[in-house]
Amino acid sequence: MKRGVFPIRSKTYVAVAFVCYVIMTSMITEKVYARPDFSGAWTVYRPAGGAGRFMGTADQPSYKEVAVKAASDFRTVTEGTNHGAGNSCVGYGMPGSMLGSGGYPMEIIQREDQLFVIYEAHNEIRRIYLGDEIRDPATFFPERNGYSTAFWEGDHLIVETSRLKTQVDSRYPHSAAATIREEYYYGEPTEDGLKVLVAEMVMTDPLWLNEPFETTKRWQEMQDYHVLTYECSEPKWLDEMSELYEEAELEMVQE
């Protein structure tokens, strides 16, 4: 062996080995963290012995006085009336849609660039954008479910929601400054072998909350269940039409 040759070849071998290591590691990592598919119909998780319970989390945020007053004022003007949001066919909005939604089922349809979360109650739909579908949230008008983007951390889906509207009618009131982080992943299956979906949620609201509100929501899969549509506003419209027909002394044939 000539002097000086071995060191050069050694460096080359080391470099090649390193590149191979990186490639193999990335392949293994990709395999271990294959992205799960959350598609399917889901209902509220019922732990053993809790069959039949339709409940959201018992956790409650700690509120500043301004929030307490706003929620109290809302109750004052609506208590005993039919003017709640739901009775006007208005959806729950985040985080109520995700944490409760009246105990109704939800369906997830998962695409690579977007998740559709359809809460049966009020046909409430969240669109959660990923990758190239993500736009600047600041360019969208605030809504009750906000604007949601997501990215994967291994097999966990991290969802970030902003552009929320102030909500006093929710079980979880918040100001328009609120942001919500959800982390979705598969938990341990039920004793019956049903899939369990978990979401750890943190709502931050510097204006209304004393501290970030953290809670965890679980669902279990619904096998052989058709998530239904939820027609809500038509009856109210028909009632209005009925009054107009009556005033005009005409027969209304549409039901």
Binding site: G52, E79, G80, G96, G102, R171, C232
Partner: protein
């Protein structure tokens, strides 16, 4: 009107046993007494299975006389999930409903279950959805 007062446990019209809140109700349900249950028989005057709540008017005859009483109840979706199908009954049919009565004792209440003329049963015992 035929009022049959029963302890909650004896009222297993459907065998359903959900007793928890269904989350934030669509509107305040404070006027309904969900710790109490009443069965009412009557003739269907108007029925609309809708969301967020069903609307039902029964012609009821009792010691107070014969009159129409208006009820509301679970959503069409929840009733459907509990077995409701189109055309199970219609105006003029006699049905039995299970309600959470009004706290103030007035006529009306929140329908949690219903038995058709054919004996088919729909519903579950819960708070307002």
């Amino acid at each position: 009107m035929k009022f049959i007062m029963h302890p909650l446990l004896t009222l297993s019209l459907l065998g359903a046993s959900v007793s928890a809140s269904t989350g934030y109700a669509h509107h305040s349900a404070a006027q309904f007494d969900f710790m109490n249950t009443v069965l009412i028989e009557g003739k269907v005057a108007t029925v609309r299975f809708a969301n967020p709540h069903m609307h039902l008017v029964l012609e009821v005859a009792d010691s107070k006389g014969t009159r129409d009483i208006t009820f509301e109840g679970h959503s069409r979706n929840n009733m459907r999930r509990q077995g409701l199908l189109p055309d199970m009954f219609t105006v003029g049919d006699s049905v039995t409903i299970r309600i959470a009565p009004m706290r103030n004792g007035e006529d009306g209440g929140y329908v949690t279950a219903l038995r058709t003329p054919q004996g088919e049963e729909i519903g579950r015992v819960t708070a307002a959805d």
